[in-house]
């Protein structure tokens, strides 16, 4: 239960093995047990897996390709879902104003939302862990500068920072170029607004490790600090980092959706769930609610499932709450 309190020497199994070991320790019997005991968590996991699978295999799963203009017929536009009057059996969830199948649009939308979400979480994680290690291990001025920046950034909501970075990129980059690089811009914008939590967690652990005797010993015999950090600090923080990453995935998906909803995120040519909601919002008052509600519902269900998973993971990893 106690997490990684043993470090007998700097020499040991390879980094890969230690990382695997760290992950394995968190997924030992207790956590698996609590997973199998909670139906809510199991359903959330199933929903999340379903979303990820259908996002990855969207071209195979979706009935139509919403980007294939040849398959879209304006005559099919604004059809309601099949269980309503005027529904068309070809389109389970109806069609949008251009005659696109909503189900396919949602599946492809989730693909983009999850893609941006995952990429920004990975980016934030790498950035945060590196800065946290640097900060905790070097201390002094480096630490002070990094943590001051973190403090200042924490006082601003992530959405505002993401909005600012995205807006900046929009103004700096020529319009046609932005059409190609929006993915990276979004990942940068969202990732940059979430690194602080990782950095703080890793920094704390690195500071604790740094003062331990085996690290001093390892330094004396000439093992590079980087190796020490990777080998001993990283496995210890895998659990908390995993929890933060899970909850961050939910927040990143929401942030992307919000940016897209505000019209500064994913362009309408390859719509994410947020873009779909924004586009559909214009049809809300004319009664074609399904154009906006289905992407919105998909978004809410996805985020709820990931949040539930994150919540459970945090409780399961925190012995205090047991």
């Amino acid at each position: 239960m106690a997490v990684g309190e043993e470090h007998r020497g700097a020499a040991g199994p390879s980094l890969g093995a230690r990382l695997v070991d760290g992950v394995r320790r968190f997924f030992d019997g207790d956590i698996w047990y609590s997973f199998t005991r909670s139906p809510v968590v199991m359903v959330s996991a199933a929903v999340t897996v379903l979303f990820i699978a259908s996002a990855v295999f969207a071209p195979l799963v979706a009935p139509y390709d919403p980007f294939d203009l040849a398959s879209i017929d304006l005559l099919d536009s604004s059809l309601p879902p099949i269980w309503m009057d005027g529904g068309d059996p070809r389109f389970l969830l109806g069609t949008d104003a251009q005659g696109r199948d909503m189900l396919s649009a949602v599946i492809y939308g989730a693909r983009i939302s999850l893609g941006v979400g995952f990429a920004s979480v990975v980016f934030a994680m790498l950035l945060g862990i590196s800065l946290g290690l640097l900060s905790g291990y070097l201390g002094g001025t480096v630490d002070a500068v990094i943590m001051r920046i973190a403090d200042v950034q924490l006082t601003f909501p992530a959405i505002l920072i993401a909005l600012l970075i995205d807006g900046l990129a929009r103004t700096v980059l020529p319009r046609d170029l932005h059409g190609q690089v929006w993915f990276y811009v979004l990942v940068l914008a969202i990732g940059l607004s979430f690194w602080v939590q990782y950095a703080r967690t890793v920094r704390g652990s690195a500071m604790v490790e740094r003062s331990k005797e085996y690290v001093q010993a390892a330094r004396v015999i000439g093992i590079p600090p980087l190796v020490i950090m990777l080998r001993h600090v990283l496995p210890n923080v895998m659990g908390p980092v995993l929890v933060i990453a899970t909850i961050n995935l939910a927040i990143a998906v929401i942030t992307e959706a919000t940016l897209s909803f505000l019209g500064v995120g994913v362009p309408a040519t390859s719509p994410s769930l947020g873009t779909l909601v924004r586009v559909g919002n214009d049809f809300l008052f004319s009664g074609e609610w399904w154009i906006t509600i289905f992407p919105g519902a998909a978004l809410a269900i996805l985020v709820l499932a990931v949040n539930l998973l994150g919540d459970w993971l945090r409780d399961a990893l925190n012995p205090k709450l047991r």
């Binding site: 207790d30 047990y33 609590s34 005991r37």
Partner: protein, 335 residues
Amino acid sequence: MTSTQANHPLLRVDNLRIEIPGRRGTLVAVDDISFHIDEGEVLGVVGESGAGKSLTGSAVIGLLEPPCRIAGGEIHFDGRRIDNLPYEQLRRIRGRHVGMVFQDPLTSLNPLYTVGRQLTETILTHNDLSEKGARKRALELLREVGIPAAERRIDQYPHEFSGGMRQRVVIALALCANPRLVIADEPTTALDVSIQAQIITLLKRLCRDHGAAVMLVTHDMGVIAETADRVAVMYAGRIVEVGPVAEVVLRAKHPYTVGLMGSIPLVGHDVERLTQIDGAMPRLDAIPPGCAFNPRCPRAFEPCLRERPELLTVGPVEAACWLHGGTSGGGGGHD
């Protein structure tokens, strides 16, 4: 109960069992223990951490934290059963009749209130006094526990006191309502070694002055030897030996107690023979069959592995050990 004073003990605990329900079944943290404390008596409860002694203290005052729970047995205070009282009635006993001193004075006091406020609040809860009278009483208590310049200190916050001074305040808080029993849970463990003796002396003197009995929970046999009238030794959730302190210290019957005695330096004895018990106490989910101490016992023999010994009278003390009688027979032969 075999004690000669069992007529009307202040506190009587019969067959107490405390369980911790967990994901992999229920752990038994305190297993069927019985003891008593007489009016004005100091009972030392000693054992390694995890032996169940703190849980026993918490159970007596009704503050076991979930998921720990009393699964069996009875607790009687002054002839009245208290373990099954509703929360509100038990609350009236806490502080009023049974005081408690915790281990860490740094965390026992609310950091956001002055010492005086915490004292008067407690005094007013239990006594029918005016605000002014309560403050006067608080000042007396602070002086009594040896806080210098009490008039000034009473309006200070806990963080302005040193560890030893805070523990004095905690003792004052426990004695607010003149309780008849004080449960002191490792009262000196968190303190500086140089202050430990002062606090123990203070606690003992005050309890004697106020006529309060003490249940002194500690892992420090030295403290017990100096302070207690009787001592109960706990191991893995059971009492393995109980008796007058001089008997237990000088002529320990249970090999575990013998080991504990070996690990304290006694003034005037030769220090070379300080010994240590090999190994560690078993985890609650891995208590061996028979006597729980058998894997570490230097004198374990066949019945120890098979059957759990009960507390039996051995001269002036009681011990749970096959070496000292019992139905399995042959135990005494080793002596």
